[in-house]
Amino acid sequence: MIILGIESSCDETAAAIVRDGHDVLASTISSQVQLHAGYGGVIPELAAREHLRNISPVVDTALAKAAISIDQIEGVAVTSNPGLIPALLVGNAYAKGLAAAKDIPLVGINHFIAHIYGAFIGQPELLADAANFPILALVVSGGHTAIVVIQPDGHARIVGSTLDDAAGEALDKAAKILGLGYPGGPVIDRIAKTGNTSAYDFPRGLTGAAGKAVKPEHRFDFSFSGVKTAMLYAVKDRSLSDQELADVVASYQAAVMGVLVTKAGDAALHFNTPVICVCGGVACNSYLREKLSQEAGRIGRKLVLAPPKYCTDNAAMVAGLAWHYLRHGRSDGLAMPTNARLDHDLGIIPFAPNATMPAN
């Protein structure tokens, strides 16, 4: 089954064509990062206007790359939550229009679950084996930082999440404080490579570092607002040499990523998950990938790192995930709503090996 996926929840307009959930025929992204660079962030109004301008060319490009016609599309999937409402609406209006015009099924996709699926695109054998479950997913992006445990029957629970800022936001805001531009992730990754990770002892929120007790209910939660403030004070009223800047950035990155690694490892042991998967834009970070590999090796777990092209926002994860809903007979009507916030009830995860869900 060939599915067209559309993603417009934030600053990327993306379209992808995926066969049977795993065979990516085309994945196209119209990057708007340059457009937003002047503002230090994404501007929703601008994003919506740009999505509108981008969406048709992006879909047409994906079709051309896949060398298929729109009439060969058998289903259309679109991110319907969570995200910026004006941006989401563009993709949803397009997808609904196409579903109605071509009389093909429409599937609304949760962006958060799609990021998890992004780690497994092209690896159906991994998902088919119940021995790999429960799977622990670390979802780290500009908008989310959470640990999810997925059971073989598809039941999923967010066992921990950020109490304040997301990890990606911590990187973006640090880059802003240090005058490094937007987005913060790639530039911090690059500069940190030449710095000393132990030059500064930045706080590691909710880990019990520096003798600070962690309440049991926050064992798998995150907090990244304190590290940002500590860094601000470390650089305030100073003019940094290139090496000093690299040391600040390397120490900051080590503090943020160190918390992610510690908590993911702790959760994998606690929930006894044979697989740890990491996904979302921050999963592109090379230091995080390296440290998670070491940690997974140390505790004897299999690590599944989402490929960088499926870490950042893309539509292949949307189209791929939709196939799993459709094979369970699940689709959505044209009245499907968009929703800005993440619903913590993730429903049944359709790509789990023993998932059952009523068809509609």
């Binding site: 934030c10 503002y39 230090g40 962030g41 994404v42 501007i43 929703p44 109004e45 601008l46 919506a48 969570p82 995200g83 910026l84 409402i85 004006p86 500009g142 908008g143 999440s161 950020t162 109490l163 304040d164 800022d165 997301a166 936001e169 805001k173 802003k176 404080i177 607002s225 940002k228 403030t229 500590a230 601000l232 004070y233 800005a340 916030r341």
Partner: protein, 161 residues
């Protein structure tokens, strides 16, 4: 009125008390740099309004909506990624300002200055004094209400500048 908070916990408690001073349709404009403690004060206000769920940064989503136990709303807005009033209006900001069934708190309000009614907006400014200390400037009528109930531990009044 100028207050000094010794630490985050005190700022949180002040936010909780501040909530009791906010009638429906209140808009609080929260000024302060990155890391000045806006999110902490916002979380305190949310707790004071009866919201128990995590109050996370609205930077990415621009708006976080919370349902209060009394059925009314708490809107937590962050204009950090909004360029100006025009962008805010295109986003649909008017739905979240001065709604009769809601209390709204706006971070980075300077981006939408022209949309905030000066006399109907409670302006609060947070400033770094030290790594954990913050100066908090708020309208006198709010300050008097807080003094009447007693300032929390860790909060002291400063002489007028």
């Amino acid at each position: 009125m100028r207050l000094l908070s010794k630490q985050d916990d005190a700022t949180l408690t002040l936010g909780r008390m501040l909530a009791a001073c906010l009638p429906p349709a209140s808009v609080v404009a929260l000024y302060g740099d990155l890391g000045a403690g806006k999110t902490v004060l916002s979380r305190g206000v949310a707790r004071g309004l009866g919201i128990a769920e995590p109050v996370t940064s609205p930077t990415f989503t621009v708006v976080q909506e919370y349902r209060r136990p009394n059925g009314q709303w708490f809107y937590h807005l962050d204009m950090y990624r909004i360029s100006d009033e025009q962008a805010a209006l295109a986003f649909g900001i008017e739905e979240f300002l001065y709604a009769t069934n809601a209390i709204t708190l706006v971070e980075w309000p300077e981006r939408i200055a022209a949309l905030l009614a000066p006399t109907a907006t409670i302006a609060i400014t947070l400033t770094h004094v030290g790594e954990s200390q913050r100066e908090i400037v708020l309208p006198d009528h709010i300050g008097r209400q807080l003094l009447a109930t007693g300032l929390p531990a860790g909060i002291s009044q400063l002489a007028d500048a």
